[in-house]
């Protein structure tokens, strides 16, 4: 089984420096692209590979690039923003890629920028990833020194600067247009769309925002081609995926596996099953803003289409496991508190609706809820859903709420009837 994204990563070791990375074939894809491929050919290779965005939404990366105006008439400068703001609760996959192999990300960023003829790339990194910041800074300096960044890279006529931008810290920064505002030095509120970033992004210029894991795939696609990439997967969605699991499993962690690996294999084989004395009650397949699935869904293949067909989303592919000794209402309260705190306040259904949801959940969890509160939560979940807000924060918050009300309804009702939390964690 091939694991291109993590082949260079050795846990507990310093990552490859530029010389070691190049010895292992690193930056070969950049040399190949700049010497023998047009930007359109790089974009086409990614399009043919069917690379879906690994940040959570699963939008086709090559398709996203295709909306960028190209050629001599295109507005300049153009920008690439690398979304390294990994703040989705339960998610720790991009940390692994950046700490473990920073040059892979930089090589991918150069190629992605070249494909859209970007002049400048920003790596937007969350403040708490200090080790990743140090390693990326060092790696970028090494690449400049070797002549693979800057003016007229290896005589190709293509020029690119990469800046590492460290965030001031806020979940909203990971939202595509929120990130644009954050890079511009403003509050990270989302922007109204259209116009989309590809035509009017940073400072009104064409901009593409791609997730770290998405970009890390690009050098391998350029080197090995689309058919190879598609072969890596168990399903018709190409590539590998960095999956992960946290919660009361025996061996929490992150693993690069074929796209479409089943939930069962992830939990039983890779995460080692549940800890002794704990049973699997449910799970969030890809971070806080995905719908709960249950043990009945363990055969689901973890790719974008299959998880969606099962009623949830692949999201970031890092599973959060709910065990039978943790209260589902308490877990949903924890999730909604997070969303309420991180809401930027721009849209009324989001900030008002989430505050209200937290109040109702707090009452129910404390044994002071009424049956009507459960119905109210249900209608709130609808109001928070798609179509009422500028960005996906509220719809993301609605997913675990609505699905918990569906799968764990009797647990909500027990809190009301018994006038206390049956788990009583305290």
């Amino acid at each position: 089984m091939e694991t291109p994204l993590t082949a260079n990563i050795r846990s507990g070791h310093e990552p490859s420096d530029i010389d070691a990375y190049r010895k292992n074939g690193g930056y070969r894809a950049v040399l190949k692209a700049l010497r023998s491929m047009s930007p359109a050919e790089v974009a086409q290779a990614v399009r043919d590979a069917g690379l879906k965005g690994r940040g959570g939404a699963g939008f086709d990366a090559g398709l996203k690039w295709s909306f960028v105006p190209m050629g001599s008439d295109a507005p300049r400068p153009k920008y690439l923003a690398v979304n390294a703001d990994e703040m989705e609760p339960g998610t720790f996959k991009d940390r692994l890629l950046m700490e473990g192999d920073p040059h892979q990300l930089i090589e991918g960023a150069i190629l992605s920028a070249y494909a859209i003829e970007a002049d400048v790339a920003y790596i937007f990194l969350r403040r708490e990833y200090r080790l990743a910041a140090r390693r990326l800074r060092q790696a970028v300096a090494g690449v400049y020194h070797s002549g693979l960044l800057g003016r007229n890279i290896i005589g190709s006529g293509y020029s690119l600067d990469i800046h590492l931008h460290v965030s001031g810290g806020r979940y909203m920064c990971g939202e595509e247009t929120g990130m644009l505002n954050a890079i511009e030095g403003k509050r990270a509120n989302p922007r109204s769309k259209p116009p989309y970033p590809q035509t009017s992004g940073l400072w009104g210029k064409p901009t593409v925002v791609n997730n770290v894991e998405t970009i890390c795939n690009v050098p391998h696609i350029v080197n090995n081609g689309a058919p190879w990439f598609r072969e890596l997967s168990h399903t018709d969605e190409g590539g590998t995926k960095i999956y992960g699991a946290s919660g009361r499993v025996r061996s929490p962690g992150a693993w690069e596996l074929p796209m479409g690996t089943t939930l069962n294999e992830l939990i039983e084989e890779h995460a080692g099953g549940m800890q002794d004395g704990y049973k699997l009650r449910g799970l969030l397949p890809g971070g806080a803003s995905t719908d709960f699935l249950t043990p009945a869904h363990l055969d689901v293949k973890m790719d974008f289409g299959s998880v969606e067909a099962a009623g949830s989303r692949l999201g970031t592919g890092t599973i959060v496991v709910l065990d039978d000794r943790s209260c589902p209402v308490g877990m949903v309260l924890n999730l909604e508190r997070f969303f309420a705190r991180e809401s930027c306040g721009w849209c009324a259904p989001c900030w008002g609706g989430l505050q209200f949801a937290v109040e109702l959940l707090t009452d129910i969890e404390a044994g002071q809820g009424r049956m009507e509160d459960i119905d109210l939560l249900e209608s709130l979940a609808k109001m928070l859903g798609p179509g009422h807000t500028y960005c996906a924060l509220a719809p993301g918050a609605a997913e675990p709420l609505a699905s918990a009300l569906k799968f764990f309804r009797e647990d909500f009702e027990r809190h009301v009837h018994e006038k206390q939390c049956p788990w009583n964690r305290a």
Partner: protein, 154 residues
């Protein structure tokens, strides 16, 4: 007054952007690195330097979780309270740290040694529960481990 070092660092950081005001977040953080937090007068001074109104810049400063608009202790504890850590008992741990330091979440100890802040997911869920103190990540925490860790920060 902004110091010479602060100004120089801000000008250097501004080179990464085509628009001067875009350096605002870096500028706030540079001030915070020197002073521990961002006082009102620094907002005024930065506004003047970047040709931004005080209200606009304060709106930016107050938006971001890691820009401090109040004084903090010598060490800032970011205790993760998101879902994976919660499942591993972060509630109890937060209470323990709180009791140990004699402060509520959001407060600073009387000796100015620690500020305790709740934090969104720190992206180390496979090693939950976790916290950061300053730039250091501490993982797989329990009460005993927390005691030993806190002692290392003077």
């Amino acid at each position: 007054m902004l110091s010479r070092e602060e100004k120089e660092e801000i000008e250097a950081a501004a080179a990464a952007f085509p628009v001067r005001q875009s350096v605002a977040i870096d500028a706030l953080r540079i001030v915070q690195r020197y002073r521990g937090w961002v006082p009102d007068e620094a907002i005024d001074d930065l506004g003047e330097l970047l040709e931004m109104s005080t209200a606009e810049l304060d709106g930016v400063a107050s938006f971001y979780n890691l820009i401090f608009r109040r004084p903090v202790g010598r060490h800032v504890i970011l205790a993760c309270d998101s879902v994976s850590c919660w499942l591993l008992g972060s509630d109890g741990l937060m209470e323990y740290i709180s009791g140990r330091l004699g402060i509520a979440s959001g407060q600073t100890t009387a000796d100015g040694r620690f500020t305790l802040l709740p934090s969104v997911c720190l992206g180390a869920c496979d090693r939950a529960p976790v916290m950061m103190i300053d730039d250091d990540l501490h993982t797989n925490l329990d009460a005993e481990k927390v005691d030993r860790i806190l002692e290392r920060y003077e």
